[in-house]
Symmetry: C2
Subunit: 191 residues, 2 copies
DNA sequence: GCATGAACAGACCGGTCGGTCTAGTGGCTC
DNA sequence: GAGCCACTAGACCGACCGGTCTGTTCATGC
């Protein structure tokens, strides 16, 4: 991918986390990156197109992290799932506790834009599906009660996580993230 | 309170849930309510002042519901807490699954506005505190394990709920709300 | 019947928005 | 070295933004 385009996407991720979609003007992206407007509209059809590509880049990173953590055969499957979230928490910390881009854009735009609503819902669902596979593995090993609905549990895990990410954004602390993990993982196993 | 002001606040709640803060123009509020701009700026200092008052009205409703459900002495305390969330779920359903205003504005504005960040964080924390009181009552009765940290549990409950509310907004279903409640209440007691 | 001030009414303002347009530039191919 | 095209560059556009201003209406107290 062209270097200018990459620079724009990287800046877009950071700026959109901070200001949201409507709160972020094209001009600010251009000033921050030193890219002229002509280049921007050469690489992207519109602001919406740009934001959707920023989301794509973001979820690509998430899936890379999923791949890296979930397929690690040496750890127990439940450990791998928790390890994934712990890794994401560290990422949030490095970004100054601004939460999750999917949650931020989802909240802001789901009410007004079907395109974003569907897109982000799909991204979240896909992430949950990958976690569900690993949870199912744990269930079969007896690490989870045999009656556990692992698909639903993965959904709950992701949803609760997104809520904790929002709180992290509000309180500027990582504490909600830890708390939600402790609760969910403590709860799920000891049923 | 003046009737015009009330009309503006009521419309503001609905419109802000749908379009967010930055996505909602003053003009649209005025068209929807038939109120001229002069009246708007007579009742409110600015758009920000308006939004903060919309939030105030929203949390006042939430606290009224908390009062109504939590102080009901006939039900067990844990039942009352769950009953509160069930009531909120019905509210969301009536609004077409647009989620929670605190979550929506929190996500959109926490990164850019300290005023909103602090305000909404405070509102969420206060709600959690009231739930914690009821959870503590449950713990003392033996409905929760004696070791339960009820303050933290209340926080987790609220955070997870906000996450489910976001998902509800994305998927336009009440299902995530039910799932998170089932998980949390099933988990908390059977530890 | 007159003064007062809250509330209504909307024209108007500068600034910023997303987006377009034309021009220029550098490097590749033949 | 001519032609081509991806890319850079930024002036420019109409629309719309939040907010101000001037004026009017109307209920109330005296």
């Amino acid at each position: 991918m062209h270097e200018t385009k990459q620079r724009l996407l990287a800046a877009g991720l950071q700026l959109m986390l901070e200001h949201g979609y409507n709160g972020l003007g094209i001009q600010q992206i251009l000033s921050d990156t030193g890219v002229p407007k002509g280049s921007f509209y050469h690489h992207f059809e519109s602001k919406e197109d740009f934001a959707l590509q920023v989301v794509d880049a973001y979820v690509a990173d998430v899936h890379a992290l999923l791949e890296a953590t979930l397929s690690n055969g040496r750890r127990a499957p439940l450990e791998r799932v928790r390890g994934f979230f712990e890794n994401v928490r560290e990422l949030y910390e490095a970004q100054g506790y601004l939460g999750c881009l999917l949650g931020a854009l989802g909240q802001e735009l789901a009410g007004a834009s079907e395109v974003f609503r569907r897109k982000i819902d799909g991204c979240v669902a896909t992430i949950a599906q990958r976690l569900a596979v690993c949870l199912e593995e744990a269930r079969k090993r007896g690490d989870l009660p045999a009656t556990t609905n692992t698909v639903q549990m993965a959904e709950v895990l992701v949803d609760a996580w997104e809520g904790a990410a929002l709180r992290t954004r509000l309180a500027r602390t990582g504490q909600p993230l830890e708390a939600v993990l402790d609760f969910c993982f403590g709860a799920a196993t000891a049923r």
